[in-house]
């Protein structure tokens, strides 16, 4: 678990669905070893950006570099060994055990006609331990709570042994307790295992507390990037969401009362 992290650069990225431009010349660099959060109003291009960065969509213009190499030139499988993504919507058969699901995370490392090695087993065990689901390894997915399910899918992504972990709104379908649990887990994965995190969050306060860096998007362009203290300001919040909200500082923390 080397602390060496990959460097992700987005250069002048543009993308349109048909005639609807979603991203217009987006550029930023994700700080290696940090937790970065993409923020912005609905339909500002967050999820599209995440899909482009994970080779699910192809950019119309611009490029995305992973350690200086254009990801368009990387094979899907090689990309999956370096970066993993936890999508917002996840499905799995109800009778699939947690361990079987997490084992799927080894797919990019296993050639189709080879059986799993001891390293694969160790990596799966590690991923389950890191996400606190080792004790439910044998339970079928259909019996899990929302929070446990989310952790199982995060564990699957971890089993890929990524240096870079993408998460698309990892808290959306969870109640507040599991939201906090999931965000703390993400923070811990970053702190203890040096995994660079890039996630999309809706909640400004959660973004401010759990991120080292925030990228604010508006109408397909980057409005601001930097530490939460610098980005989460009256002006940026208003520019992003079109509503005036009071931003308060409370010692180290800043927060917004979203009412």
């Amino acid at each position: 678990m080397a602390a060496h992290s990959h460097r992700l650069q987005v250069e002048n990225l543009s993308f349109a669905y048909g005639a609807t431009a979603v991203l217009r010349g987006v550029s930023f660099t994700v700080r290696p070893g940090a937790v970065t959060t993409l923020m912005g109003a609905n339909a500002c291009g967050k999820t599209t950006l995440l899909l482009l960065m994970t080779k699910n969509l192809k950019p119309d213009a611009g490029r995305i570099l992973l350690d200086g190499r254009d990801i368009a030139a990387l094979r899907l499988r090689d990309f999956a060994k370096r970066a993993a993504i936890v999508h917002q919507k996840n499905t799995a058969p109800d009778d699939l055990s947690v361990e079987q699901l997490v084992t799927y995370g080894r797919t990019p490392h296993i050639s189709p006609f080879h059986s799993r090695s001891a390293e694969d087993g160790a990596r799966v065990a590690w991923a389950m331990a890191a996400t606190g689901i080792a004790d439910i390894a044998r339970q079928p997915m259909g019996t899990l709570s929302g929070g446990q399910r989310q952790r199982a899918f995060i564990a699957m992504a971890l089993a890929q042994d990524p240096k870079l972990l993408f998460l698309d709104e990892p808290t959306t379908f969870l109640d507040i307790r599991y939201q906090v649990e999931t965000l703390r887990l993400i923070r811990a994965l970053n702190a203890e295992h040096g995994i660079t995190i890039l996630m999309v969050l809706h909640d400004i306060n959660q973004a401010a507390v759990y991120s080292d860096e925030v990228i604010a998007l508006k109408d397909g362009v980057v409005l601001a990037q930097g530490p939460p203290r610098e980005v989460v300001t009256d002006e940026t919040v208003f520019a992003m969401y079109g509503v005036r909200l009071p931003v308060r500082a409370d010692g180290e923390r800043i927060w917004v009362l979203p009412v």
């Binding site: 899909l51 994970t54 899907l76 090689d78 993504i85 999508h87 109800d94 009778d95």
Partner: protein
Amino acid sequence: MKAAGKQLLTGMLVCAVLAGLTALLFFASLKIGSISVTWAQLWHGLFTAYDPRVAAIHDLRFPRVIIALLAGGMLSASGLFLQAALKNPLADPGIIGIAGGAAFTAAVVAAFFPMLYFSKPIFAFIGGIMAFLLIYRLAWKGSLDPVRVILVGVAVSAVCAGLSEALFGMSTSGGVSPPVSGLSQRSWSDVRQLALYAAGGLPAAVLLAPACNLLALEDRTVRGLGVNADFLRGLISAVAVLLVSAATAIIGVVGFLALIAPHMARRLVGSDHRILTPCCVLLGAFILLAADTLGRVLAAPAEISAAVLMNVLGGPFFIILLQRGRRVGRS
């Protein structure tokens, strides 16, 4: 690992029991019929001395029984794979018109190019693939909506059936009789033809079982694991279409089997395709042979075809699935 191991073990046990039952049924249906012989007579007639009654069984009943087993297994595996590829528990190659497309091109070959009789399954495969692509294209709206697939499929199925009927009409007036279908009057050359495709398609299905497991996740998740989900879907669909086309070329369209067997198999051994695929093949072989044997017995000396029996039993089963699907969809 123990839970998964236990599931796999239970699955293997179920498969062993199914294989045993199928073997019993195989011998029983060899004996059942208008010509009756004892086991001893059968044994001697086959291996030591010529016996005209056993010779008749060898030429008529053996091929029929073997074809029922092979076609039953192939159709069921085809249904299972289509369900996995289209993420649609209702996908049945008979209902959504793939078998209809295969049957039509096979009929064209039989009517106009009788010299190509022995490559009928290949032409059936072409027809099956065309029907599949048509359904896929027409039902695709960013993703495949399960109900849309069924609706489009029913239309494609009706068009193919109509074309086949029209072809029979034309060919009878032209003095060509419609090609025989169903399980009666099958010969050893049919067995050899079908066995060729079963020998290719069924092992391919077993090899692709882990790929079916992956496709049970969201496509984006599969891509995230470094696997091209669309490529997998194409591969799995191609095997499914090959299996159903070859079987249809020999025995005609049999509906519902490809729907019933996978669902029953899932109930028995769960959703892991590594064990589900062999279980489904065995179950399909058993069900089609049972239907054919029953059809020979129920109204003897007249026969009810296995396809008709499958429709009578399968229709209600399909409705139950639709009802349950609706409830699941709402919850």
